[in-house]
């Protein structure tokens, strides 16, 4: 773990940290696109770039295969850092296309961060092309964190603009939302457990209404100050932990897991693969030490 703390105090990202971020991010992007290509052929309610497409857009099986292959090649180039600027441009555009297609089917899965991060990294490498002394090792990740941080801050601003500080006290109306989101789960998979969970959570929250308001106030503060995570790597990590707890709370209470938001946040703020890699490395070193002592 010493290694990990050491990495946190250096306000730049090592090659292995960056590689593991790319691998995790590529995987989540690959699975997202696969799901979109499997589910959608049309854009019945055009949103985003599909407002520019002619009516009656149809994505044929051949086009899907082509898109899938292109995406696979671009992901390989992205991970191996070959034709990096081009691969980032390609991935940004495919991501924009894919998630806009999803939105055009009213499937708002809040995946704006994924496209935003590809564009942010593309932007970082575009600056590097022009300014050779640009600290790309730092900014290719920091730009990604900026997209994540601004999204959370915007979420807090939206709450303050719509409900003001009353958002905290309005939380007493939350049982209706709990009912809704748990029923969403129920109509998806017909598992009655979602409804039992809704009644259980509502009963629990009615007993602790003051605590609910306190948690909501805390959530609003965490979201509003998310921009702090931009300042340095250590803040970003600490903020990542706070946001992770916030998402766990949302999942337990509302039965809602916003994958397009919390997964990029975990990857670029906490980098779980790197944490795992550090633990394995440290265990290996300790085992070698023990072996050498007894040999």
């Amino acid at each position: 773990m010493k290694d990990f703390y050491k990495h946190l105090n250096i306000n730049s990202y090592s090659s292995i940290e960056w590689k593991l971020m790319k691998v995790s991010f590529s995987l989540i992007w690959f699975l997202s696109l696969l799901s979109i290509l499997y589910k959608y052929n049309f854009a019945p309610i055009p949103e985003s770039i599909f407002k520019l497409f002619p009516a009656g857009f149809y994505l044929s099986t051949n086009a899907k295969i082509l898109l899938f292959i292109a995406n696979l090649i671009l992901i390989c180039c992205y991970i191996l850092e070959k034709y990096f600027w081009w691969s980032l441009l390609g991935l940004s555009l495919i991501s924009l296309f894919g998630f806009s297609l999803e939105d055009s089917n009213s499937d708002f899965d809040r995946n704006t961060m994924i496209t935003g991060i590809f564009f942010a990294q593309f932007f970082a490498y575009s600056i590097k092309k022009k300014y050779f002394d640009f600290d790309i090792e730092k900014y290719r990740v920091q730009f990604s964190v900026q997209i994540i941080a601004i999204s959370y801050t915007l979420s807090a601003i939206a709450k303050l603009r719509t409900s003001g500080l009353n958002w905290v006290t309005d939380g007493l109306l939350m049982p209706l939302q709990i009912m809704k989101t748990n029923y969403f789960g129920y109509v998806n998979d017909a598992n009655i457990e979602h409804i039992h969970n809704a009644h259980h959570v509502i009963e629990l929250l009615s007993k602790y209404s003051v605590a609910v308001m306190f948690v909501l106030a805390f959530t609003l503060i965490i979201e509003f100050f998310a921009f702090v995570s931009i300042f340095n790597k250590k803040y970003s990590f600490i903020y990542g932990i706070l946001l992770m707890f916030m998402h766990i709370g949302i999942y337990l209470v509302l039965d809602v897991a916003i994958k397009g938001t919390y997964i990029p946040m975990l990857i670029f703020m906490l980098n779980p693969l790197f944490l795992f890699w550090t633990i394995i490395k440290s265990l290996k070193n300790n085992l070698i030490k023990v072996y050498e002592k007894h040999a």
């Binding site: 985003s48 915007l154 719509t162 409900s163 958002w167 309005d170 109306l173 109509v187």
Partner: protein, 136 residues
């Protein structure tokens, strides 16, 4: 170097809720009502949303979009039966489009709505059938 955050912010102001920009306004208020949509078959047995390439969230968003595209006022259970019928028809047409490859053997599918609201301190639920169609 906070340029990306700034660009995103400007993008949100200009383009609003258009991918990849978003105001992240979900749960920015706690409404005093909620809607849940679900499918049933001819025997009124629930059909899982996933069986029709959909989700509960997906249907809720679709409902709002269809209402807004048709300039139908919506929320708080104010929609008349004819509005619900028309919205349900358009929603099922969209659902059908993304299920053309599935073999439903002339299956009857009904779209229904649950309306949750408070009566005093108690949550009430009103179920309404919106539209029925045949998937083939």
């Amino acid at each position: 170097m906070f340029i990306i955050g700034l660009i995103y912010l400007i993008g949100v102001i200009i383009f609003g809720e258009q991918h990849p920009f978003s105001k992240f306004s979900m749960y920015s208020s706690f409404a005093d009502y909620s809607y849940v949509f679900y499918f049933t078959d001819q025997e009124n047995k629930m059909i899982k949303c996933t069986d029709l390439n959909s989700t509960g969230t997906n249907l809720a968003h679709m409902y709002t979009t269809v209402c807004e595209n048709n300039n139908f006022s919506h929320g708080h259970g104010m929609e008349s039966d004819s509005v619900l019928h028309e919205v349900g028809k358009q929603m099922l047409n969209i659902i059908k489009i993304n299920n053309i490859k599935l073999n439903h053997n002339n299956k009857k599918v009904k779209l229904n709505r649950m309306y949750f609201y408070y009566e005093g301190n108690i949550i009430q639920c009103k179920k309404q059938e919106m539209y029925e169609t045949v998937f083939n």
